[in-house]
Homo-oligomer: 405 residues x 5
């Protein structure tokens, strides 16, 4: 960790560069001389091969990883694609005293001439250079090399869609060496948690579906075969912006639910009510199309939004069944009544038959039975409505509590 | 197979590393000396070319393959994309005695300086490095080299969607050499079945549509031209999480079926019933859109979910036909009756014609015929309903038994 | 072609390998000696450059191409993506007598040390290695080199969707050299037609939308500028599995057609019938969405399934027009009748006016005219129904004959 | 341009190859001798670097580009993906007299041993080798090198979708050197316009949405900084096959329009008519889904098909408004009448009140006013219908003339 | 910045090239001599490594970046894909006097033989060569090298969809060196703002969804660790062409709104009105499908088009509720009336009961109450209509002002 402090000290010192006193020709040859001084003018087969060892048996690598853009979050594949800027620092043991070389403090060297750490990303499914890979590494006179990479990174990420679209996801980017053990190579954060989070947010270029909440760094040691390895974990916390889903799914489905509840008050010649309700059901089916496009089949627990849609779909289905039942009862009542009535009418108007002497009696009897059916229907209707509304309220409030705990 | 045991022995031995007694300068030069000792400082043209032969005519390669993520399962292309971590072990015949080299037990060497086995994946459609390929191989002092690769692997996989979405798929990843025969190269599993399965599950990063059930390893020998080759087969068993499909397809279609059955009890002025039923049919069509998005045209046997949807679609269609028929009969009855009635009314009220003397007789006769039609309609209706419900129950129970055997 | 026979002879001979009599050290050095014997230990700049010439002016290359998976058939792009295994044999003129080298009959050599034929695939849009490309070539002691490639191949293929989804497609994979003429290089099949087809089917890993019917090989010579070139054509015949399309498009549309035909028997208060029919039309529109997703705009001839859907769509449209017409006529009749009737009723019941003395006469006259309209409507209805059913039957039977000739 | 003629002359001459008189060993060594003769056996660092200069200061490159397949036309991205076969000819100044070398007239040389022109494609977004890139170039004894590339080319193309789906697009493929000026390098067509077009059509492998009409070649000089550069432009004219779009969008929308016009004749109890019409509107909305999938938002001018759909959508909307208005008027009339009638009925039947003595007078007055409303409604209805039909006819004929000028 | 002027001077000078006086053989050897003169015939390991230093300590790189095509704008990923042509100029310090070399002023040199600046694009997610990368760099006799790259560039871009589809987006392309500090390397624009914008528009090949408004260049210095770096920012302003979205979403939704407002005038037997309105709601749901396909969930502020659709959806929902309420009231009124009426009728016609003596009194009382309900319903209806229309107008005008400020 001393490198960190060393850098701060070095950076803060105002080096009196004597580059100004240097003629142009001197500067040019000084530039070349540094390469010769460092032995970079010869094809040294071992130089990029051997891990640089200075001051310690362990090579310390310092990393800064900024998430500059969240390009894609794929819930179906459980992967997240980010654009990250990764700056790697390490001591390479190639020194020069800048005052001897016309004040030149930094040079750029081809990457393949130096040893570079083989840092892998454990969760990575695809690592691509976002831009052309720079062939150069910056080399400072106190022996530190700095390389900058802009990567487009697709990493696996365990996502829990239970609270979709009000969910917050935590994705890890774990850096580790492919083959070096903890004794050979350590990976350390260069900046601290707080400044990293802040700088990432400042660099953050996109304003898409996801909001970057924070980036946390933690160090970890894992077993690698019979050795142990040093891991550096960046934990990225992101939050979905739910408005569009609210607008496209939750609101319409809710409107349909309200309409279904209110449809109890449609004076029912009955059949029109049914047609109204089945159209609501059809509309919810259309919205299921949107849900199907949006939500992947992921977890063992159904996402709450799925429960929300399915439950409302089923509720509307049940209320249609109830309407059919009530209509059936009403129809039975009405049928009886109308049979009587027509019988009465026809009985009185055309055929003066005497088979049915206590006409008014039978009439009243039928009337009562028919009214009985109608009353039963009305009671069922009202009871169901009350139960229905209670169910809806309970369901929605339970759902709300689960959704926003 | 002795390598396996050797490793365990070596790993368990607590090597008394004398690295601590070693000054920094010594350590640094010892590090370099290992390279020289192994002849890695010179460009040996044959070293990466010639298969290492030590202790046996056959080169034994040990492999550990962990499935760390299921990225995508494409039923249409019959392919599966996984992220796998593959660790390859083999003896390279490059030894050093670590006590002579400051206690250094492992070094990292560039991959292209050593021979590496050419292990192919038979089913692979696309093999990509998930992360930057590590240029290094770990080399142990007892001559073993270890390399770690994180791969994004798209492999062909014969999938049977018959039981979709309650299906379990088995996909193979077959490792074999491109050109080496069984006599030259063998590929062996390093970990055993059980520990591999368990470790894969622990490493498993995603929580998507598929659940990893198990990974089985089996060894196999196949003919390759006039030689035979050693194959190592990883059999990955995965199980789909069906909830979303249940919610989006199976449940709604079932609701529509129930509604269709219940629609028999809609007192039919008749036409409203039709409108109700045809809207159900339209809703099922909308759900067919979801099914079409979800299910590819794959096998000779229709997937059960397809049979389920089609059968219910057809059932609703048939029940509409029946409704039309019954309505036709009822209408005929009603028409007759109404003709009579209006005739009766008009006959009595406006035109006192005498062409129809036994008025009440004709009336009753017509009444009976009309009632006859109505009765036939009612009988057909009830019979159909009974048959329909029986059909639905039998169909659903047979389907259930086929689906969950 | 003699290579072919030579191979069979060589393969059938049971070589008495004396590898067993060979000590381990001997074996190891023998292995190295082969490389030296063949001159592969030196960087021979011309070796991979110059076409090997032995026994003939022409270099004969033998190829075996197995289609191991059909990954994707893209009707829109008119391309097919297959996974193929391609084995290439050729004589390289590098011999050794295995008895002199400890019985070693085969070695593996880096590809870039030998000449390899530049075989292109004429139709290829994209050629990717399915798995990591093997860096090795197998070299046999009688001078033959064998290389194995697993390729993911996207090739252009002229597809005719006329009979979709009951179509069979024929796709070519044409191998030819980029620059070598027929006099310099010939490409020959190694296995014969029959065994190739059978082996491909055995290796076939996927069970997707397409069934592999057969693979045929044919040899062909084409002109290349002022020379001629040798072509080897693999003709792959595949057959679509149509069940899902039948279930998702053909069956529902047929159900809608049947419902439309049957809707003639809906006793028409008229307007309900219209609502029923227009909902059918809407449902067919929804199915057009599926068709649109499935079928690309390809040929000059409309695919039969398009004709099927469009024709049924139009038929339903026409039958709606007819219903409107019939209803109009009926309404005219009914209107007249009702005017008369109400006139009659009102005339008799409320206003005892005398302006219309021959009341019953006018009544009967109106009645007849109204009945006339109604009769015309009924005749049109019945005639249309008969014509409609005939049209449907003729259309479907012609379609069937064209579809399954 | 003399190369062109030279080639024809050389090609037409029947070279008396004395290869037959050559023993096999001679042939083999002659083959090697050519390489040595041409100096290709040594690593000449400048050979692939320096532009070959023979007979002129300018290097003439001859190109033949065949469009063998149109893989994808992406209207949204305004890009076209084609498979092209590109043959490049140029004089390399490497001669041998074939009679001195056993009659060998052509050899194949690795591409990186010779200078190759750096021909770029100006419009290219993505250039990929369709098949494995051939490492060889054919070299003729008179010093010409020929190389063949099969490319999958994605090029930007300005597309005008105004007449979609009856549109014809013109896409350019412009070849030019990256850095060579007109004085250094010229790019010329090898075949002429006519033969190229014809050969492309013969080679054309796909039968997709697009028909290849013609390929035209034109030469052009553009300014490149302070120099000028030689450009070769291939102009590819393609024509869309419109049938599927006609079937899926234009026909259904037209059917809906016809149904809407005809719906005027629905005897309107009024409300059913509305339900019919609004279902038509819903159906057109469903078709808008297809249109939205098909058509990208591109130009300043709306594509005609968009105008077609929108106009018909609006027309149906307007006709619904009109229906509502007419129904309102009718209802007003009917309401009045029914009030009177019921008043009349009730007046006579139950309550013998005397407040309204001139009953029949008021009746007739009301009747007239009600009839007035009804008449106004009928007039509006008929007038609108006439205007509507005229509008539709004018719109469709104007559209047709714009579409097929 | 002097390079810029130097170039203009050099370009404007009419060099008297003496190439004409040069024999062909001279020309050819002069060409080779330049390479030797510049030392390009030897493998100079440091040449491509060391930043060229002439006349100054800083290396000035001049860049021209033309946006030649906008291939894709992905609102969901917040990325834009463009095809750009990038010309890089820099002084390499390799001079020759063209008169000494047969008047040759420019040569082409392999890129890897010279130092090239490592210019990265900060926002880049993916940088691909649009066409084959040219291996050459143009070298002028006054020491300047020019290289041309055609790139397909996917860059992150903060997009604000608030005003979609009438939005204008500003995307940056920021060029900077990977490791060189401001003291070592500066990146400067070659052309000025105005000419760049104009030339880009001229080169602009596509006519897709986006219109290129302007390209602005600005120079910027940012901190890079303890140094500062020179940045060159290209600011690309693009404007969406909104017509298709207007046609596909805004217009249809507006039509549905108008229809909903007008549906108040549907004489309501009531139930038909409901069916009409719920079909409107269903149609808007279908259009939500299109909106869902088009609009990603992005910002904290809902895009106006989302508010537009949701608000209208909700308005229609509310108006349905109101219709249900009004119908309920009307039904209550009508029910009362009809009960009375039927009571009256039945009372008079069949049962001459005396329980209800003041028949007409009760009747009138009931009539009044029923009329009261009906009147309330009518008042609510009219009030709501007025409020509804006001709400719609206010909403639309506020929306319009926000949309087109």
């Amino acid at each position: 960790m001393y490198l960190h402090w060393l850098l701060l000290v070095l950076a803060s010192v105002g080096w009196v560069s004597n580059a100004e006193n240097c003629s142009f020709a001197d500067y040019s040859s000084a530039y070349k001389n540094i390469f010769e001084h460092l032995g970079l003018d010869k094809n040294n087969i071992l130089m990029p091969d051997i891990r640089p060892l200075y001051w310690s048996h362990t090579t310390d690598v310092y990393v800064d990883l900024y998430v500059t853009s969240i390009i894609d979050v794929n819930e179906k594949d459980q992967s997240i694609t980010t654009q990250v800027k990764m700056i790697t620092f390490q001591l390479n043991g190639l020194f020069w005293w800048f005052e001897d070389f016309c004040g030149i403090q930094t040079i750029a060297v081809k990457k393949d001439m130096l040893w570079t750490p083989d840092i892998l990303i454990k969760e990575s499914i695809k690592t691509e250079f976002g831009t052309k890979q720079s062939p150069y590494v910056q080399l400072n006179f106190w022996g530190m090399s700095v390389s900058v990479d802009i990567l487009a990174l697709t990493t696996a990420c365990k996502m829990d869609l239970y609270r979709f679209p009000f969910d917050t996801q935590i994705c890890n980017i774990t850096l580790h060496s492919a083959v070096y053990t903890k004794e050979e190579l350590t990976i350390n954060p260069f900046s601290n948690n707080k400044s990293l989070s802040q700088e990432s947010k400042e660099l953050f270029q996109a304003q898409g579906e996801w909001e970057l909440l924070s980036i946390d760094i933690s160090d970890y040691t894992s077993n690698f075969l019979w050795n142990s390895q040093d891991l550096l974990i960046y934990q990225i916390t992101i939050k979905r912006r739910p408005l569009l889903y609210v607008m496209n799914i939750i609101l319409p489905v809710f409107v349909f639910l309200v309409l279904d509840v209110m449809s109890f008050f449609i004076d029912a010649s009955g059949t029109e009510k049914l047609s109204f309700k089945v159209t609501l059901l059809l509309s919810v089916s259309v919205l299921l199309l949107i849900l199907n496009d949006t939500l992947p089949s992921t977890s063992d627990k159904l996402p709450l939004i799925g429960i929300y849609c399915s439950a409302i779909f089923s509720l509307i289905g049940i209320s249609i069944l109830e309407t059919i039942l009530v209509n059936l009862l009403k129809a039975k009542g009405a049928e009886k009544r109308s049979v009587e009535t027509t019988a009465a009418i026809t009985g009185q108007d055309n055929v003066e038959d005497l088979q049915s002497p206590p006409d008014s009696v039978r009439d009243q009897d039928g009337m009562q039975r028919s009214l009985c059916w109608t009353r039963v229907a009305r009671i069922i209707d009202v009871t169901f409505l009350v139960l229905y509304i209670i169910t809806v309220i309970v369901f929605l409030s339970v759902l709300k509590r689960t959704w926003f705990p």
